[in-house]
Symmetry: C2
Subunit: 377 residues, 2 copies
Amino acid sequence: MSWKTSSVTVCALLLGSALSHGALAGPPAKQSPVVIAEQGSFAVGGNVLQSPGVFSPNVFISTAGGTLHGDHAYVQFQIPPNARNLPLVMWHGGGQMAKTWESTPDGREGFQTIFLRRGFAVYILDQPRRGRAGQTTVGTTITPITIDQSLFIIFRLGIWPNFFPGIQFPHTSAVATLPVEEPLNQYFRQITPNTGPADPADGTNSANETNAVAALFDKIGPGVLITHSASGILGWQTAIKNAKIKAIVAYEPTVFVYPQNEPAPPPGFAPAVPVPASDFDKLTKIPIQIVFGDNIPNAPTPYPGLNLWVNAIPAAQAFAATVNAHGGDAEVVRLPDKGLHGNTHFPFSDLNNVAVADLLSEYLKEKGLDKRGNGNN
Amino acid sequence: MSWKTSSVTVCALLLGSALSHGALAGPPAKQSPVVIAEQGSFAVGGNVLQSPGVFSPNVFISTAGGTLHGDHAYVQFQIPPNARNLPLVMWHGGGQMAKTWESTPDGREGFQTIFLRRGFAVYILDQPRRGRAGQTTVGTTITPITIDQSLFIIFRLGIWPNFFPGIQFPHTSAVATLPVEEPLNQYFRQITPNTGPADPADGTNSANETNAVAALFDKIGPGVLITHSASGILGWQTAIKNAKIKAIVAYEPTVFVYPQNEPAPPPGFAPAVPVPASDFDKLTKIPIQIVFGDNIPNAPTPYPGLNLWVNAIPAAQAFAATVNAHGGDAEVVRLPDKGLHGNTHFPFSDLNNVAVADLLSEYLKEKGLDKRGNGNN
């Protein structure tokens, strides 16, 4: 491992192990302080809606001739002293926001702070029309829908109200009750609605999202993109737009791309998206790692929410095979094959997330993506 | 001043001064690193929407018997080593979110990082149904409305497209053009819509907001509440709910409360809200400072957006007088009276925000709110 195996890291690993049987975590272990050279936030990308007419300052609210600036991404960053050369950009999934990468549902450190400690500049973002990037040039209607329990299944915590045995999510009983325990309460409150029309699940019309993140890499320079779930497809599309994306690590991506002059591969959550061969080739120039958690069925079960996942790994494997057939460097990792069991759809915030982070650190080191200065670590 | 007047602080003061004539800021000055003992985020407060019926895991999306967890506040915190006893809780205004307290529109440090550097634990929040607290139990329709220019006036940057002379907002020309310069672009993109029904401007039905922030103080213990604009009224109401709020500093609050057995005071943006005398008395137990910026007219102008402010300071003064008549400790500060000129509706992110922060530090010291341990600084 490329960072110093400090007592802090060892403690965290032990803690993760001690908690890996579904026990409720106690107060987060005290860690050593984090040092930050610079932190802040900004908007990037976006559109401007402009109304016709002439603005009048003599009217209380004059929409005529007025503008609305929306459809940007909102980005928070923290940069440690002597940061590694390539920052990590972390992009949430569907119905989520950058909270994904912050504190875990039981209050431990998420990937944002873990990788800051490991010397990376970390950028977390809310994609356009989500969370703090809420300002939108196109309106929508938000309708509350009571799907916490359905998401419990889709996100593979278990078959509601039963947790999967050995699940890496904090709970005290094998059966969830209402009101839910605090970690599950926090988890459900991470969900946030779109404030404008949603991007299609297949990523075919996600210009706001991919343009904003491409603009982010133009602003910050070369870096590594970390995606999750629904941002998986957007990540492939953004890397095609911007060569400053030097690698992609995708946690549980659900949709893929393929060269349009070749046969369509098997679908993930939705059919793969055809792209020009010259675009697909751009994905063969960067290392790509795809990571899946546990409890993914190989064949249909009585639970449609769980069955969403039946096609995911074969689709990912087909994508990786196509990338590699074109001279690329893609791999699909199943965490159980690495000795990590019980991971949900959110491995980076699961109870064993330090071990999951260790795998990411190892990958970044193996691919030479964690260097400082002229190449020293 | 109670914090060490380091070279960093002096540099920042000089920088603020050098930029105080409306010049576009260059790259932010490099500061010394920030040390953080702990950081993270969580949801607090909120409601649960539950649908009737029985949940079925055999249906893909079963809303029957399902829940939605919404109407919470979303909170980010950073705690420095050896923090002062009382954390600062910073609450944004209308149409805004916690971005208010982060990087300024031109990328300098906002109050979040400034006061972290000064040894305070800092909590910034998105109120229920705003920003990252988007999940809502009651739906709404979001309709984009082109009011950037109207807000330019209401927020007292100038009379669009003309900046006020000497305004503490970064710009290169006296006249704004479209597309706007980057600081104004960032400023407009700080706006974010409500994802559920808005609280009334007079705060008469804001239980979600005040309950969530009251719950936050129950979670973190005694602290100082900093409000801005529309959260001003909510701050008075929350302090009535929770005695753990040990002081309030309100930037440009717009609506006030008064004892219901006394004559109604002059209105602010809206009529003052009557509260039981025993509730009003709770506001006499804590120090209250109310701060206003510059360019507030004393009498109506041709600009309705600017005229909103005509009543604000008299209303604040009447509120402070009532608090003090009941034995309290409230004051109204006009920044020009302190030698700070050109401040907008957002003094904490204006070009001279370090000087504005210095006034806050002085107030906290004067009132004994900045102590560490048993009272040493």
